[in-house]
Symmetry: D2
Subunit: 344 residues, 4 copies
């Protein structure tokens, strides 16, 4: 059994990590820290964990050495204490944005201030197993992934890997998101009477996760346009691009199918009948799957590629545990077996 602790466990990603790890057959949760909820039972904040654990939130200042440490702090914090965390644990998975970008200059550009530990950036592997499975098996330090970046990266991965996108084609990724994306702390716009029923394109350009798509896929002209909709968990990315001349629907099948065969959490959804013909985040709540779909207008070469995920699972905590599994040499699906619900 591996002993693991979670720093910043009262947030949504932290709670999801707790849920997964408390049932993980190879991991024992040592500590879950929260400054705001110090001394409370974790089930008082994450009510689904009632009768599952008597663990209480502990003081982040009283962290004990463990084999693996998950950092689930707000962005901008982990970089200031990374040395201390590394002294406590040999394996670290940081879910924040602090160690996702390799280039300190890119960090400064997208996050508006210089990185506090730039020399650590190169020590981290970007934590998306579908892109970095081999490196993760050898890694000690792994970053988390942006949830929107993950939906975009996985939507585009088949097209990029098979080199199907036309040279110079702009890529527009329209991303629709639920309310859990904004985290556990409320804001005026998250007040239920204002947030319910919305279709709110809150960011047309410049979302920070764009940096992760540029870095990981090598795309240059890519835009993430963000729209909030009425859902708690879930992201759907709908990516638009132009394919190379002559690319046909069968070429897309040849790009998507093997990827789903090689990656246990990828599925292709493209049905001719039934209600569920395309990827949908609603059936993914609690699951670690990323569902991919596509369509092509062969006359114009306009391709639409979709990816649906649960932002707290495949977009955060689920992928983080998948990474830990790989780092520990375990089956990457360990502890991530929940199928999702229908209906929901």
């Amino acid at each position: 059994m591996i002993r693991a602790s979670i720093v910043g466990a009262s947030g949504y990603a932290g709670g999801e990590l707790l849920r997964i790890l408390l049932d993980h057959p190879q991991v024992q949760v040592a500590q879950a820290t929260s400054r705001a909820h110090l001394g409370e039972y974790v089930y008082q904040v994450h009510p689904n964990l009632r009768k599952r654990t008597q663990l209480k939130f502990s003081d982040p200042a009283a962290l004990e050495p463990v084999e693996a440490l998950f950092l689930a702090l707000p962005h901008g914090q982990a970089q200031h204490n990374i040395e201390a965390y590394a002294a406590l644990a040999g394996k670290i998975v940081d879910l924040s944005a602090d160690f996702r970008l390799r280039d300190p200059e890119a960090y400064r550009q997208w996050y508006g201030q210089p990185h506090a530990a730039p020399n650590w950036l190169s020590k981290f592997v970007y934590g998306l197993p579908e892109l970095h499975r081999r490196e993760l098996a050898a890694a000690d330090y792994v970053s988390g992934v942006g949830c929107n970046a993950t939906a975009a990266n996985l939507a585009l991965l088949p097209l990029v890997q098979a080199d199907l996108i036309a040279v110079g084609s702009p890529v527009i990724v329209e991303i629709k998101v639920g309310s859990a994306e904004s985290g556990a702390d409320g804001n005026p716009g998250s007040h239920h009477p204002e947030r319910a029923n919305v279709i709110r394109t809150f960011s047309a350009f410049g979302h920070r996760h764009t940096a992760e798509v540029i870095q990981e896929l090598g795309l240059r002209d890519v835009t993430l346009t963000m729209t909030s909709v009425d859902l708690v968990r879930g992201v759907l990315a709908t990516a638009h691009a132009i394919v190379k001349p002559g690319v046909a629907l069968k070429d897309l099948w040849q790009a998507y199918r093997p990827l789903a065969a090689e990656n246990p959490f990828l599925r292709v959804v493209r049905e001719q009948r039934g209600i569920y013909r395309v990827p949908e985040p609603k059936i993914l709540a609690g699951s670690n799957y990323a569902d991919l779909g596509f369509d092509l207008d062969e006359s114009s070469g306009h391709v639409v590629s979709m990816c649906a995920i649960d932002n707290l699972m495949k977009g955060a905590a689920g992928t983080a545990v998948q990474c830990l599994n790989l780092m520990l040499g375990l089956d990457e699906m360990t502890g991530l077996g929940f199928a999702g619900l229908h209906p929901i």
Copy 2:
């Protein structure tokens, strides 16, 4: 044209008053105050009013004399300045809980502190036209109504007026409410990821609006049990009681029908076919109707009486304007003609 101002116009009831009064053929809105949003256009807070008015929120300290004043402040504030407000306007409608109860001792009991202007309580008429239409026509000072109290009072009114409830029968009113009830200021429980999808019985006993049901209907053994559900606007009260021996379904019809005939905003909904057989708040958003329904188990005498309203209209701003109309000698429906939407 009557000049009217709204104090505390950035909240939800204040916004609804603005919406109604800006289209009211006999009223001109003079000022709308908000300390927090001083100087902003009212449409920046109430986006439905864009292109309807160039009014800006003004300073509550700079209120000018008008003929009618609506007070839409948080509970506990108006009672401290009622003399000053009365110096500014001959007619006052206070939407808060400050002047709803006639008995200072009852106020102290339900609101936990002594009333700051107890001698003013007797000057106010309780602002529910279905109960006090005549007094309202002669009133200068009118209280608002509690939204849940209104749903309960109107659900029970036909039974009480026709004296159908058995002596000693407890009355249980199960009230289901949307999120707009809690006002425009967020709290941890109103954060969308926590508030969406809830069925949350947040108060089993002792809701403050109970005092208004006791006062207005003369009931003694009455309980309001409150449950939040996933809706923004709307309240449904489902009241349970035991009828006097021998009371039959036809007696209920004779109690409900005339009441709906006499009161322009009351409707009886009891259909044998179609989707809408019972009162439903969803179709009442924006309308001032109160829809009543009932059912009786003749073998046991158990009666169920329902009332659906829009808490911001019939439960707050709509009834307040209805009162002003009566105070001014106008048709009580003036400015309150919106039918509600289907579907919604």
Copy 3:
């Protein structure tokens, strides 16, 4: 007073027409037909109309002559009886897709079968006042508008009128829609447990309303991508294009502002503060406004233009009444004064 009848009044657009026209100061509703609900009170199907009218659904075979006729039938029906309808009324507004396209060949291409009354197509004016106000004033026959086409056309109108879109730029319009779009008849996918919480990109290419965008704006390379979200009423179109070299944000302001000034139902929403900074359909339920927003990445020339509407109002019944007002020489806002609700 103008006498008007509604054919196919039990559907959602028909119900909305009823709601508007029953309160319209210049129109008297003569008949509302429904084969399925023949003889029922209209309020049994449209429960918001209870106590507003005692009108019953009448037989479409018993239509009487009137001055104006609204046809709210399913697509493909009106074209078979247009001669008969024209014999009954001098003014016709058809809300279906039957008379929207000028070119019979385009109709055949997009709707999959030849038009049954191709010689009538040229007699109809496309019923979007923001594009055809003058022609509508002289028209006897007016088509309705596709709701998604309207959101797309109005999102793109400022860019097209000011000629800001780069030559050869593809236009991608990502449209998010509520469930009322699919009409009053259920289908397996509209069953609440399946339809709730969805983000479902049900059509990547080839939506029929594309034909109306091509025809009305003269665009050639335009795609409508359709995504269902969890909302009843409302459409948001988010349009992507590349602007001509040198176009800056100030040029966009100069394109949008005058359009909103000239058209009473257009508003520009582009705020720097508050919760409502961009167009949102949720606050438009029941209103006839179309809210426009925009953003520009000046470095790449990528423009995003948004339009939010209530699909049953500005996207159907509201615009149809606006057209009738123009046909009758009335103020185009007559009967369409509802501001919409906040919160909702």
Copy 4:
């Protein structure tokens, strides 16, 4: 490994059984029948099962012998073929209402027609482990449970077991339910535009599940009042009764606590702080827990007892698998370990 088949596997309870059993360590799914979806992959109907199984729906006429059979047919069907099913499997769990009532006369009264296999009624054990754990361990034939009956029975169980309800006290159970309760087949009232946002008290008296509360708890004067709210999965029962003279809050704690200690799927939720102070179905989606809460007005003796469940889990498929576990001598939690999600 036990071989088990599911008859009627395309409905919601059938899909939930499939989800659970495909991951159950002691059960192998042999067949899943569906007449309507014969030959389709089960994941085409239950999209959460994609990549989990290649099982196809098989013909109910081609059922093979197995050790355990789950019947998930619409009410009224299993009773006609129970002999045939019993010839195929030694253990049967029937989720329909067919074998829940012991008394054929009670069946006739509540279901409106005589039972087709009345001699089989006494062979079945009512499948609620919290009431019949010992009998279930020895049973071959087990009925399912009504979801609303289960919420009511578990809400009232602590009060009944500790004999706290006053003699002659009527019991009113106000039950709020999500849309999945009505099953996988749509109806006009389940069309999303009509079903979204509802608070619809669709049944004031006489719900059939009342019969199960009468039978199992021995209560005589009990009413189930049913209200639909906007949620897919979930039931909350709020039960009202009068306690015996002198019963105090501490007596309630003594009634609830041991019950939760003895039953692995019962939890008491009664917190003084945090957002989740009372039972809430939203956090139970996919879990088999039943969360209990209570409050007492000591002055009047009015007790309110609450039970929240996922109607498809503890109210149907989850409890059915829990029963099978007991029938097979397994730990009753086997295969039912999912914790539920927060937030959701």
